[in-house]
Amino acid sequence: MGMTISQKILAAHAGREMVEPGELLNCRLDVVLGNDVTAPVAIAEFKRLELDKVFDQNKIVLVPDHFTPNKDIKSAEQCKIMRDFAAEYGIKNYFEIGQMGIEHCLLPEQGLVLPGDLIIGADSHTCTYGALGAFATGVGSTDMAAAMATGEAWFKVPESIKFIYYGDLPPWVGGKDLILHTIGDIGVEGARYMSMEFTGEVIKKLSIDNRFTMANMAIEAGGKNGIIEADEITLDYIQKRARRPFTIYKSDSDAVYAQVREYDVSKLEPVVAFPHLPENTRPVSEAAGVPLDQVVIGSCTNGRIEDLQVAAQLLQGKKIHPELRTIILPGTQQIYLEALRRGYIEIFIEAGAVVSTPTCGPCLGGHMGILARGEKALATTNRNFVGRMGHPESEVYLASPAVAAASAIKGRIAAPWEA
């Protein structure tokens, strides 16, 4: 019996030839990640172990990205806990303001996560790195604390669902639409505890930024990880960044899947997820018309250069609707700089949008764009739960950068071809 790519990566990190779904393993980790919300809790737990060193100063990554630049005194105190810990324990990959970006945009960009890696992060969107053919999954702070001490974590080998996408992607339809459509199909717990393996001719042609968007939202279907086999597109992205060896794993042809689901994407429209769950999806033509107060373009889901390119393409020479605020957040300093060089930032500002330094900010209702009671926002982020972006009686609609830019111009949810 063959193994899936997820089984193979877990097996390799447990020193095993073969593992089967349901087995509990203790695995060696390549990267352990935390942010300004989760790392302070992990640091407090780690200190209970009374150790004078971490397992490996090179394999821990700390990124202050959620409430930074510090939104208030309490957040500043949280960041200081992390900064002081990084200095005291000699953590090499601590990214200060000015260097930092949204963690899941930053780590791949810096070449810190590579194909075949086993990665845990005290952030649920750690699953993003599956786009590079790594096994990456979110955990809590205590798991992070234990991992900083031991370099290991326990895993239950997950069953896998294979998603096959075929056909030709219509214009304005991309990774965000594919993953929202998939979540709409299987529901927010459709892949609970399972590995989501994205395959097929559409994925093979999909750009790396669009792949990150898909793997990023595996958690929104309850998935343990989302994963795409590394190929030429991956290597093209990795080769100039990797500073250590890596291994490419592929699923065996006789690997066993709990489910196989196929999607013909040829007639797919851009997708919008309505409040208050990412599974409440509708084609944009059935969503158009909802009046909006705010549009947010950015986040670990859609804050990369290609996302900004799509937004710039639609916003060029246009004006943001006067009754709506548009906030654009490049994912990292490098993405920001690249957008500046390409002229996107000027397009955004001329259109009437604001451009922010990288931060998770509004995505989780932290800062930089909180909603008032009754307000509606369309965001390229990943969650539209009650109160996610502010007041419990506000609403969040999720969509791609193309739908977001078109909606910003129209002042209501709009299809890209309307802009």
Binding site: V139, G140, T142, L364
Partner: protein, 169 residues
Amino acid sequence: MIISGKVHKFGSDIDTDAIIPARYLNTFDPRELARHCMEDADPSFPGKVQRGDIIVADKNFGCGSSREHAPIAIKGAGVSCVIAKSFARIFYRNCINIGLPILECSEAVDAVQDGDSLQVDLERGKIINLRSQEEFQAMPFPPFMQEIMDKGGLINYVKERKERDKVEV
């Protein structure tokens, strides 16, 4: 351990933003988090929850973010146990790691009403509805997870292992 408490019943897909909204994540003090526990699902919850009370919820409890502040807030509010049809993966892991008792039992969730009193035998996974005298059996934990919980959480478990390794060296 046998616990008993009054039921607060919730629906499906209660996410971690509902359990503890992100606007309160600039601290991890359990008492402060407890003041806002479940606030966006039921604003009256922090005011009415009593020490020992039990949360009963439908499927996929704790979906969304990895924030450990969610089980910390529930524990901080004095909730003795969460019973659901199913739990989201990271939340489930976090509960085991910090020692917040959780049980999976669909039959109990369907039968129990808001305000009922339950008696729960955590080791055996036995749930008794004191109103109706009905009994339910929850899914047992794998022995490995039970061991982490018996030690009082993952850090104690790791601590013991580290000390054992030191002795062996």
